[in-house]
C-alpha cells in the first residue's frame, strides 16, 4: 500500500514538474524579443497581408492565456502541434530524431562510465606522478570545448586514417567517434569525483580491516572503496544529463548526425515555439525519470538507506 502511495506521489510530482517546465518555457518564449509572426516570416517577404494570413492560420489573434490553455490541453492529449518553421507535426519532427540521440547518449554514458571507473581505480592512492598526470589530462579534457575534441578526433581517425566515417547514423562505426567525443569530458569529470571518493574511503577504518583480512589491494579498491565513491557520482546524474543534451547539440552539428540537438538548435534560434516547448517537456520528462532512477540507485548502493 505504501509502495502504491509512493509511486502515486512520485507520478504526481512528475506531472507538476512537467507542467512547471512547460509553463516556464512558454513564458520565456512569450517574453523573448520578437513576435511569433516575425519568427514565422523569418527572412521572407513581409507585408500586412502576409502577416494577416499567418495570424489567421496559426490562430495568433487569440488571447495569450487562451493560446496557453489550448497548448496545455492539447499537449496533455499528446498533440504537440505543428512546427512553425518545418510545417510538419512536432511529433514527426522530434519522433524521428529521438533514436539517434538516444543511441549517442547511451553509448557516450557507457564509455564515460568505463573510462571513469578504470581510470579512478587505477590511479587512486597510487604513485603521485600517475595521479598527477591523470588528473591533468582529465582537467584538460573537461575544459576543452566539445567541438574541438570532435574536430581533432575526426581529423586523425576519419580524415587521415580513414578508420571511421564522418557523417550520419548508418551503422555502428559512425557512432564511435561522436560517442567518444561526448564521453571524454564526462568520463574525465566522473573519474575525478570517483577518485576523490575512493581516496577518502581508503582512509576509513573498514579498509584497514579489509586489508588486515588479507584482501588484495585491487579488490579493496574495486569492491569496498569504489562502492563508497559511487554515491557522489550518482548525485551528478542531473549535471550529466545537462552535459549530454548540450553536448549532443554540438556533436550532431560537427559530425553531421541526425538527432534532437540539431532540431533544438534550429528551433531555438528561429523561435519555433511548438518545437522548443516539446523539447523542454521531453527533457523534463527524461530528467524526472533519471532522478527517480538515481533515487533507486541510492537504495541499491547504500544498504543503510533501505532501513530508514
Amino acid at each position: 500500500m505504501t509502495l502504491v502511495r509512493a509511486v502515486a506521489r512520485r507520478l504526481a510530482t512528475a506531472a507538476v514538474v512537467l507542467w512547471a517546465a512547460a509553463t516556464a518555457a512558454y513564458l520565456a518564449l512569450l517574453l523573448a524579443p520578437g513576435s511569433t509572426v516575425d519568427s514565422i516570416i523569418g527572412d521572407g517577404a513581409d507585408t500586412p497581408e502576409i502577416r494577416a494570413q499567418i495570424i489567421a492560420e496559426w490562430h495568433l489573434d487569440r488571447p495569450e492565456i487562451v493560446q496557453y490553455a489550448t497548448y496545455l490541453l492539447r499537449a496533455a492529449q499528446g498533440d504537440l502541434g505543428r512546427s512553425y518553421q518545418l510545417q510538419r507535426p512536432v511529433s514527426d519532427v522530434i519522433g524521428a530524431q529521438l533514436l539517434p540521440t538516444l543511441k549517442l547518449a547511451l553509448a557516450a554514458v557507457a564509455i564515460a562510465v568505463v573510462i571513469a571507473v578504470v581510470v579512478a581505480v587505477v590511479t587512486a592512492g597510487r604513485r603521485p606522478w600517475l595521479r598527477r598526470a591523470s588528473s591533468t589530462t582529465e582537467l584538460v579534457l573537461v575544459s576543452t570545448p566539445t567541438f574541438l575534441i570532435g574536430l581533432i578526433l575526426l581529423n586523425i581517425f576519419s580524415f587521415r586514417l580513414g578508420l571511421f566515417p564522418v557523417s550520419g547514423d548508418r551503422d555502428l562505426s559512425a557512432l564511435v567517434l561522436p560517442a567518444i567525443t561526448l564521453a571524454l569530458p564526462i568520463g574525465s569529470l566522473l573519474a575525478q569525483v570517483l577518485r576523490d571518493g575512493i581516496e577518502r574511503a581508503l582512509d576509513e577504518p573498514f579498509v584497514v580491516t579489509a586489508r588486515a583480512r588479507g584482501v588484495r589491494e585491487t579488490a579493496v579498491l574495486a569492491r569496498h572503496a569504489l562502492r563508497h565513491a559511487l554515491l557522489p557520482a550518482v548525485t551528478l546524474t542531473g549535471w550529466l544529463f545537462g552535459v549530454l543534451i548540450g553536448g549532443t547539440v554540438i556533436i550532431e552539428q560537427v559530425f553531421g548526425r541526425p538527432g534532437i540537438g540539431q532540431v533544438t538548435l534550429l528551433a531555438v534560434s528561429t523561435k519555433d515555439m511548438p518545437v522548443v516547448l516539446a523539447v523542454v517537456v521531453l527533457s523534463a520528462a527524461v530528467y524526472v525519470a533519471l532522478s527517480t532512477a538515481a533515487d533507486l540507485a541510492y537504495l541499491l548502493i547504500d544498504p543503510r538507506l533501505r532501513r530508514s
Binding site: 517577404a45 518545418l86 510545417q87 576519419s158 557523417s167 553531421g256 534560434s269
Partner: protein, 550 residues
C-alpha cells in the same frame, strides 16, 4: 599525405570534349573535369552540402542554398540562359500580349510526373490554384504573384495556359523560371501528408526522384529513367548520367573539406576562404567558383533617423572603409568586391561606380566635421552635442554566413580608426533581430539577395513599400524607376532604367556601402565531370549533368 583512394587518369584527348560539354554551365570559373573524360552513365555520387533545406516543396523554397536540390526533382515552365533571357523548359514557348497583361504559354505534351500523372495545362492550373490557397504560400502571393489576375486553361487545347495579370509585370517570367514556379504533381497537391514540408511524397518531373530523406543526415535521389525533356541549354538530353546521388548535410565547413580530402564524399559546396588553397593545390581535387546573381552583400543605411538621415554621414561612413583591405583580411583574396547595389554578374549592373568612392579617410573627416560631428570623446569617437557617433548593426544569428560576423568586426575597426565612428555589432537570435528592426533601433541593415533577376531584389529592398526596405528611404522618383523596370520587357530599356536606379541610390544618395559579391564554390574530385553552376543565378546546378569518370 592525404589518403586518396582514386588515382586520376588523364585523358587528354577527351578533355577538350568534356570542357565543351560543360562550357554551357554559365558564370562559373574553374578547372572542372579536365580529367573526368567523356560522360559515363551509371554510378552513385555523394555530395557534402552546407544547408539542410527547411522544406523540399519547391513552392515554399526560400533558401538559395537549396536550389541545387530543387532542380533535381522539380522543373519549371521556363529556365534562364546565360544572358538573363528565358528558354522554354516544360513550356515550348510563350507569347505576351502588346499591353503586357496576357501571357499565353504553350506546354510540352510528352512529360510525366514521377507518380505517373500527366503534365498538362490542368496540372499547371492546379499548381497556381494551390499557390493562391490562403495560408499556403503567403509570401509568394504578396510579392511575386501580387499582379496575378487569373490563370485559365484553354479547354480545346490541353497544352495551353493563359496567365492574365492585373498590371504589366515582366518579373512573372522570372517567377515561371524560379523554384517557386516549379510544377508539383496534382496528385501530390491533393494527397501529400505534409505538403508544405515536401519529401518523397511530393513529386515533380525532374531527372531525379527524391526517394529517401533522413532529417539531419542526408537526402537521396535516384535516376528517373523515363526523363527526356531537358531544356535546350541543359548540357545534354535524355536521362541523367548518375544512377543515384546522396547529399549529406555537413554544416561544419572544416568537416566538409575533410570529408572531401579523405574521399568520403566526392563533391562539396561551400568551400571556406581558408581552405580554398588546400583544395586548389591538392592534385586530385578541383575548385570551381561562381558569383551569384541578385544584389551584392551591402550595408544599407537607415535614413529614418540620425545620423544617417544626413547624406554627408552616409558618404563619410563609406569613405572611412578601405573595403579591399577589409575583404583581404577576412576572405584572404577569395572575395569579389562589390561597387553597386546590383551584383557584378547581372546584365543590369552598371560599371560606372567602380572606384568612385571609398578609402578616403580625409574626405570622411571633412564630411563628418561639416555634419557637425566634430567633437571627440575620451575614447577617440566623434561626438556632436556631447553625443557619440554610434551606429548599430543587428545580425540574426541563423542567417549569418560567409563569416559576415567577422567582416562586421573588420568594418568596425576600420571606421573607428579612420573616422572615429562607433559601429556596434550585435549577433542575436532572430526574435531579437526582428524586434530591433520593428522598433527602428538600428542604423545599418546588412543583406544580399540571390534572386536571378536583380530587379526582384531591388523591389524588396528599395521600393517605398518594399517588404525589406529598411533604409526607410522613400522617394517617388525611385519608386517610378523601379515600377518602370518591372513593367518593361525591353532589355535595353531595363538596362537604362536600372542604371538610373543605381545612380540615384549609390552615387547620389549613398544609401548603402556595397561590400562583396556573394559567390558559391564547389570542390570536387577530378574524376567527377559535368560540375556546373546555374546560368544567371550563379549557384550550384543540379546533378543532371554530373558523371563519375574512370
Amino acid at each position: 599525405m592525404l589518403p586518396f583512394s582514386r588515382t586520376p587518369r588523364l585523358a587528354a584527348a577527351a578533355a577538350a570534349l568534356a570542357l565543351a560539354l560543360t562550357a554551357c554551365s554559365g558564370g562559373g570559373t574553374g578547372d572542372t573535369a579536365d580529367s573526368a573524360g567523356q560522360p559515363v552513365a551509371g554510378g552513385a555520387l555523394t555530395w557534402g552540402i552546407e544547408t539542410e533545406p527547411i522544406t523540399f516543396n519547391p513552392h515554399q523554397y526560400a533558401q538559395a542554398k537549396a536550389r541545387l536540390l530543387v532542380w533535381n526533382s522539380f522543373e519549371a515552365l521556363l529556365t534562364h540562359d546565360a544572358d538573363g533571357g528565358f528558354v522554354p523548359w516544360l513550356a515550348t514557348g510563350y507569347q505576351v500580349s502588346p499591353d503586357g497583361l496576357v501571357y499565353t504559354v504553350k506546354l510540352r505534351t510528352d512529360v510525366t510526373f514521377h507518380d505517373g500523372e500527366k503534365f498538362d495545362a490542368a496540372a499547371v492550373k492546379a499548381n497556381f490554384d494551390q499557390l493562391l490557397q490562403p495560408g499556403y504560400a503567403p509570401a509568394l502571393r504578396g510579392v511575386q504573384l501580387r499582379n496575378l489576375g487569373s490563370v485559365t486553361v484553354t479547354v480545346t487545347d490541353p497544352a495551353t495556359v493563359t496567365i492574365t495579370l492585373t498590371a504589366p509585370d515582366v518579373l512573372i517570367l522570372d517567377f515561371l523560371a524560379s523554384p517557386q514556379g516549379a510544377q508539383i504533381s496534382p496528385k501530390s497537391l491533393r494527397e501529400a501528408k505534409n505538403l508544405k514540408a515536401g519529401g518523397p511524397d511530393v513529386v515533380g518531373t525532374g531527372p531525379f526522384v527524391l526517394d529517401r530523406y533522413t532529417p539531419g543526415q542526408e537526402v537521396h535521389y535516384r535516376k528517373y529513367p523515363a526523363y527526356h525533356w531537358a531544356p535546350a541549354n541543359a548540357g545534354h538530353q535524355g536521362a541523367a548520367y548518375l544512377d543515384e546521388v546522396t547529399y549529406r548535410f555537413l554544416k561544419e565547413s572544416s568537416v566538409r573539406v575533410g570529408a572531401l580530402t579523405s574521399g568520403q564524399v566526392q563533391v562539396i559546396e561551400g568551400v571556406p576562404a581558408t581552405d580554398q588553397d588546400l583544395v586548389k593545390t591538392t592534385p586530385q581535387l578541383a575548385l570551381n567558383k561562381s558569383l551569384n546573381s541578385g544584389s551584392a552583400y551591402s550595408y544599407y543605411f537607415n535614413t529614418g533617423h540620425a545620423p544617417f538621415d544626413d547624406v554627408r554621414v552616409r558618404r563619410a561612413f563609406r569613405d572611412a572603409v578601405d573595403v579591399d583591405a577589409v575583404l583581404q583580411a577576412v576572405y584572404r583574396g577569395t572575395a569579389t568586391r562589390a561597387w553597386s547595389v546590383i551584383g557584378p554578374t547581372s546584365p543590369l549592373y552598371d560599371k560606372r561606380f567602380e572606384g568612385s568612392y571609398g578609402n578616403n579617410a580625409a574626405n570622411a573627416d571633412k564630411l563628418l566635421d561639416e555634419a557637425g560631428w566634430s567633437g571627440r570623446d575620451a575614447e577617440g569617437f566623434r561626438t556632436r552635442d556631447g553625443k557619440r557617433l554610434t551606429v548599430r548593426v543587428v545580425q540574426s544569428a541563423p542567417y549569418v554566413r560567409d563569416r559576415r560576423d567577422i567582416l562586421a568586426q573588420a568594418v568596425q575597426a576600420a571606421v573607428k580608426q579612420s573616422a572615429g565612428i562607433d559601429l556596434k555589432v550585435s549577433i542575436v537570435d532572430q526574435g531579437t533581430a526582428t524586434a530591433a528592426i520593428a522598433a527602428n533601433e538600428f542604423e545599418i541593415f546588412d543583406n544580399s539577395r540571390a534572386d536571378t533577376d536583380a530587379g526582384a531584389a531591388l523591389n524588396l529592398l528599395l521600393f517605398s513599400t518594399g517588404a525589406i526596405n529598411r533604409t526607410n528611404y522613400k522617394d517617388p522618383e525611385l519608386d517610378g524607376l523601379l515600377a518602370a523596370g518591372q513593367a518593361t520587357g525591353d532589355p535595353a530599356k531595363r538596362v537604362s532604367v536600372y542604371s538610373d536606379i543605381q545612380r540615384l541610390t549609390v552615387a547620389d544618395q549613398a544609401l548603402l556601402l556595397p561590400l562583396y559579391a556573394p559567390a558559391d564554390q564547389i570542390g570536387a574530385a577530378r574524376t567527377i565531370g559535368g560540375i556546373g553552376f546555374e546560368p544567371t543565378a550563379g549557384v550550384p546546378g543540379s546533378a543532371y549533368n554530373i558523371w563519375i569518370g574512370k
